[in-house]
C-alpha cells in the first residue's frame, strides 16, 4: 500500500506468549499466521511447544506459595484492578475482535461482559470460603472444621469461541481462589488473550500466577493433561475423543478434571462460586478441646 509522505506508518503489534511475568516468543521459533476473513495476515501467532508449556508450569508452580498465601482481600483488590485496567483498554480489545471478524456490537458486549465478570469474581474473593466452609459437630471432644484451599497449578484450555468473556470466565475463578494457571488461548481468536496478558501484567498480578500460551490445541492438549506437576485441568469444548484422552492422561497423577462444554459464557448463570470450588480442595482439621 502506498503512503503519502505525510502519512504515518502504524506500528504493528507482535503477539507473544506470557510466562512467569515475561513476554518471550515461543522457544520453538514456530508460529502460525492468523488471517482475517479475506485471507490477509493479521498477525503471526506463537505456536507454543511442550517446552514452553513446561516452562510455564515451572513459573506457575513457583508462584503458588506466594499467591495462595496472599490474603483474600488483596486477591479481590487485584482482580478488581484487572477490571479497571481492562476498562481503560476497552477500545483496543474491541478493535482486535473486529479484526478477527466479530461485529462491533458483539465485541463491545463481550469485552464489557469480561470486565463485569472480573468485578463479579473480585467480589467473591473474601466470600466463597464462607459459603463452602463448615464447622462440623463431631461426637468427640474435638473442634473440627473444613475449609477450602487452592488445589495448586491449574492448566486451562480456554473456550475456542468464547471470546474474551469465555477466557476471563475460566481464569478468574481459578486465580481468585489462590491457584496459579497456564492458559491455552483460543486458536482461532488469540489476539485478546495475548492483550489480556498485557493487562494482567499491568495489574499487580504477580508474575507466574497467570501464564498464557498460544498455539495448536491438538499439539498441547495431551501435555496439559499429562504433566505430573499440574494439579487440575480445565478444558472447554473438547470433542469426545479429546475429552477421553485428557482424562486418561490426567489419571496418571489423579488430576482434578473439569470439563466445561457448551457453556453460554455471556449468561449470568455461567458465573458462580461453584466454578471457584472446582479448583479447591476441602481440608478438614481436628483439634482437641481440653485443658
Amino acid at each position: 500500500m502506498a503512503t503519502s509522505a505525510a502519512a504515518r506508518v502504524p506500528v504493528a503489534k507482535t503477539y507473544k506468549i506470557y510466562i512467569g511475568g515475561k513476554f518471550p516468543r515461543t522457544e520453538s521459533g514456530r508460529y502460525y499466521a492468523l488471517k482475517d476473513s479475506t485471507g490477509n495476515v493479521i498477525a503471526n501467532i506463537c505456536r507454543s511447544s511442550r517446552k514452553d508449556f513446561r516452562n510455564a508450569v515451572v513459573a506457575a508452580r513457583g508462584a503458588v506459595a506466594g499467591w495462595s498465601a496472599a490474603n483474600a482481600y488483596l486477591r479481590g483488590q487485584i482482580l478488581y484492578r484487572i477490571a479497571e485496567m481492562l476498562e481503560g483498554r476497552r477500545e483496543q480489545f474491541v478493535a482486535e475482535q473486529m479484526l478477527q471478524g466479530v461485529a462491533k456490537r458483539g465485541a463491545q458486549k463481550d469485552v464489557d461482559g469480561a470486565i463485569d465478570r472480573l468485578v463479579y469474581y473480585a467480589g467473591w474473593a473474601d466470600k466463597y470460603q464462607q459459603i463452602f466452609s463448615a464447622v462440623n459437630p463431631v461426637a468427640s471432644s474435638h473442634f473440627n472444621f473444613s475449609v477450602l484451599e487452592p488445589t495448586g497449578v491449574v492448566a486451562i484450555m480456554a473456550p475456542e469461541s468464547g471470546g474474551l468473556l469465555g477466557l476471563v470466565s475460566n481464569i478468574a475463578p481459578a486465580i481468585v481462589g489462590g491457584n496459579t494457571c497456564i492458559v491455552l488461548a483460543s486458536e482461532s481468536q488469540p489476539l485478546n488473550a495475548v492483550s489480556f496478558a498485557e493487562v494482567l501484567h499491568a495489574s499487580d498480578v504477580p508474575g507466574g500466577v497467570v501464564n498464557l500460551l498460544t498455539g495448536h490445541r491438538s499439539e498441547l492438549a495431551t501435555q496439559f493433561a499429562s504433566h505430573m506437576d499440574v494439579n487440575a485441568v480445565i478444558f472447554c469444548d473438547a470433542d469426545e475423543d479429546t475429552a477421553r484422552e485428557i482424562q486418561q492422561q490426567a489419571a496418571e497423577n489423579i488430576k482434578r478434571v473439569i470439563a466445561r462444554t457448551d457453556v453460554k459464557w455471556s449468561k449470568d448463570a455461567a458465573a458462580s462460586p461453584y466454578l471457584i470450588q472446582d479448583t479447591q480442595e476441602t481440608k478438614t482439621t481436628w483439634h482437641p478441646i481440653g485443658g
Binding site: I131, A134, N136, P137, V138, A139, S140, H142, N144, S146, E149, T151, N231, E240, D241, A243, R244, E245, I246, Q247, Q248, A250, A251, E252, N253, I254, R256, A269, S272, Y274, E281, T282, K283, T284, T285, W286, H287, P288
Partner: protein
C-alpha cells in the same frame, strides 16, 4: 539394640487372662449368593470362593463370584428401583428407611462386630468400639439429610445421579460400606456395592438389614467377587457414578476406564501421612497419637501416620517412649477383648508387608519390633519401627499398609513441612505442638485433606474425609460428602 538405661519391664508378672468375645449370637451361613433385587440369588456362572479367618486360616463361608451377567442383573435392579419406588418416594420417607438401617445396625452391633473381626482379623475392641458404631452413626447422619438437600447447596437445585457402583476395601468393611451407601441413598440414588473379596461377610449380613428394614427391592444390591467383578461394575454402561476406595493404582485404572463416558467418580486412595512431633508437644500424648496412627487396625489404614517426623531435640525421648509403649501392645487373637493389634488381613498382604520389612533392612535402616510372641497359625506382623531412614528410602515413600513406621528427624518447622509434603500423596497429616500459632501455620502448610492436630485417626460422620493429589478425588462424610452423589442444577 537394647542399650536403654533404666528400662521398664512389661513382660513378667501379672498378665491378662484370655477374654474371648462370645460368638453364640453370631450366625454365618455356609454359603452366600448375591443380593440382587431384594433377594439372595445364585451367581449366573455358578462360581464361589472361600472367605477365610486370617487369624486361624479357617474357612468361614463360601461366597458367590459375580460375573458380567450378574452385574447386568444388579444394575438393572438398581435402575428399576431408581426409576420406580425410590425416586417417587418423598425424601422424608426415604430418610426414614435410612434411619431404620441405622437402628437395626445398632441393635445387631455385637453380631456385626464379631463377624467383622472373624472375617477381617481386626481386634474385637476396634470392631465393637469404632467400626460398627461409626457405621451406624453414618446412616443416622445421612438419613437426616434426605429431606434437607436444598439447604446444602446455595443457589442450586440438587438432583440424584442415578445408579451408583461402589467398590470398597477390606480394611474397614462395614464402615466403608456405610460411607458409600448412606450418602448415596440419602441423595436419592440406588446402589450396586462390591465388598472386598477377603472381607465380604458384613456386607452380606448388611443385605439382611436392608431386607429387614423393608427397603424397596433393588435400592441396595450387594455383589461379591474380586477385581473382575469390580471391573464389570466400573465398565457397565448403565452406571452413572463410580465410588471407589482402595489403592491409587486401581483408582488410576478406574479414572481411565470411565474417561469419556460421562460417569461421575469419587476416589479415596492411598496415603503416606507424616505425623510431625515438635519439641514443645505434649510428648506422652503424642506417643499415643503415633501408636494410634500406625498400629490402629494393624496399620491397614489409608490415612495411617506411617511416617514419623520428630524434632531432633526430642527424638531420643520420643523413640524410647514409643518403644516402651510398643511393648505393652497386645498382639494376637482378634476375638480377645484385650487384643490391641490383630491379624494381617490376608496372606497376600502379609507377604507384601514382609517384603517391605526386608527392603527396609536392605536399605540400611534399623528395624525394631516389639518383643511380643505371635500365634503360629494365621497371618501376623509385630509392631515395627524403622529408624535411620532417609527421604529417598522406599519404605519412606511407598504405602506399606501394615504396622510399620518409618522414623525421620527434622530441625526446623520449614524442614518438617517440606519433608511432610515431599510425597505424591496427600490424604492426612498429624501435627503435635503446644503452640497455637504453630498449629495453624502447620495445619495450613501440610497439603492433605485431613489434618489431625494434637490427635490422630479420628473419624466422624459429620467430618469430610478425602485426599489431595494422588490420594483421591472428592470427599466422603459431612455436608461435603453429599456432593459426591448429586448433580447441581442452576
Amino acid at each position: 539394640m537394647d542399650t536403654q538405661v533404666n528400662k521398664l519391664a512389661f513382660d513378667s508378672g501379672w498378665a491378662y487372662a484370655p477374654a474371648p468375645e462370645s460368638t453364640d449370637h453370631v450366625t454365618i451361613d455356609d454359603e452366600y449368593g448375591l443380593f440382587i433385587g431384594g433377594k439372595f440369588v445364585a451367581p449366573a456362572e455358578g462360581g464361589y470362593f472361600d472367605t477365610v479367618n486370617p487369624a486361624t486360616e479357617e474357612t468361614l463361608s463360601r461366597v458367590a463370584t459375580a460375573t458380567g451377567e450378574d452385574i447386568d442383573l444388579a444394575v438393572a435392579a438398581a435402575r428399576k428401583a431408581y426409576k420406580g419406588a425410590w425416586s417417587k418416594m418423598r425424601p422424608a420417607e426415604r430418610g426414614k428407611y435410612i434411619f431404620r438401617i441405622a437402628r437395626i445396625l445398632q441393635e445387631r452391633a455385637r453380631e456385626f462386630a464379631a463377624i467383622e473381626s472373624l472375617d477381617g482379623g481386626k481386634p474385637i475392641r476396634e470392631s465393637r468400639d469404632i467400626d460398627i458404631p461409626l457405621a451406624a452413626a453414618h446412616f443416622f447422619y445421612y438419613a437426616g439429610w434426605a429431606d434437607k438437600l436444598e439447604y446444602a447447596f446455595p443457589g442450586r437445585t440438587p438432583a440424584p445421579l442415578g445408579v451408583a457402583g461402589q467398590i470398597i476395601p477390606w480394611n474397614f468393611p462395614l464402615l466403608m460400606l456405610a460411607w458409600k451407601i448412606a450418602p448415596a441413598l440419602a441423595c436419592g440414588n440406588t446402589v450396586v456395592l462390591k465388598p472386598a473379596e477377603t472381607t465380604p461377610l458384613t456386607a452380606l449380613k448388611f443385605a439382611e438389614v436392608v431386607r429387614d428394614a423393608g427397603l424397596p427391592p433393588g435400592v441396595v444390591n450387594i455383589v461379591t467377587g474380586a477385581g473382575d467383578t469390580g471391573a464389570a461394575i466400573v465398565n457397565h454402561e448403565d452406571v452413572d457414578k463410580i465410588a471407589f476406595t482402595g489403592s491409587t493404582g486401581v483408582g488410576r485404572m478406574i479414572m481411565k476406564a470411565v474417561a469419556g463416558t460421562g460417569k461421575h467418580y469419587t476416589l479415596e486412595l492411598g496415603g503416606k501421612a507424616a505425623n510431625i512431633i515438635f519439641e514443645d508437644a505434649a510428648l506422652d500424648e503424642a506417643v499415643e497419637g503415633i501408636v494410634n496412627g500406625i498400629f490402629f487396625n494393624q496399620g491397614h489404614v489409608c490415612c495411617a501416620g506411617s511416617r514419623l517426623l520428630v524434632q531432633e531435640s526430642v527424638a531420643d525421648d520420643v523413640i524410647r517412649k514409643l518403644r516402651d509403649r510398643m511393648e505393652t501392645l497386645i498382639v494376637g487373637d482378634p476375638m480377645d477383648k484385650n487384643t490391641d493389634v490383630g491379624a494381617i488381613n490376608s496372606k497376600e498382604q502379609l507377604g507384601r508387608i514382609e517384603s517391605y520389612l526386608k527392603l527396609g533392612v536392605e536399605e540400611g535402616a534399623q528395624m525394631y519390633q516389639s518383643s511380643c510372641s505371635v500365634p503360629t497359625k494365621g497371618y501376623w506382623c509385630r509392631p515395627t519401627l524403622f529408624t535411620g531412614v532417609s527421604q529417598s528410602n522406599r519404605i519412606v515413600q511407598e504405602e506399606i499398609f501394615g504396622p510399620v513406621l518409618a522414623v525421620q528427624t527434622f530441625r526446623t518447622m520449614e524442614e518438617g513441612l517440606s519433608k511432610a509434603n515431599n510425597t505424591p500423596y496427600g490424604l492426612s497429616g498429624g501435627i503435635w505442638t503446644d503452640k497455637g500459632a504453630k498449629i495453624f501455620k502447620m495445619t495450613q502448610g501440610v497439603r492433605a485433606g485431613v489434618i489431625w492436630a494434637n490427635t490422630f485417626n479420628k473419624f466422624d460422620p459429620t467430618s469430610p474425609f478425602g485426599g489431595y493429589k494422588e490420594s483421591g478425588v472428592g470427599r466422603e462424610g459431612g455436608l461435603h460428602g453429599l456432593g459426591a452423589y448429586l448433580k447441581l442444577e442452576a
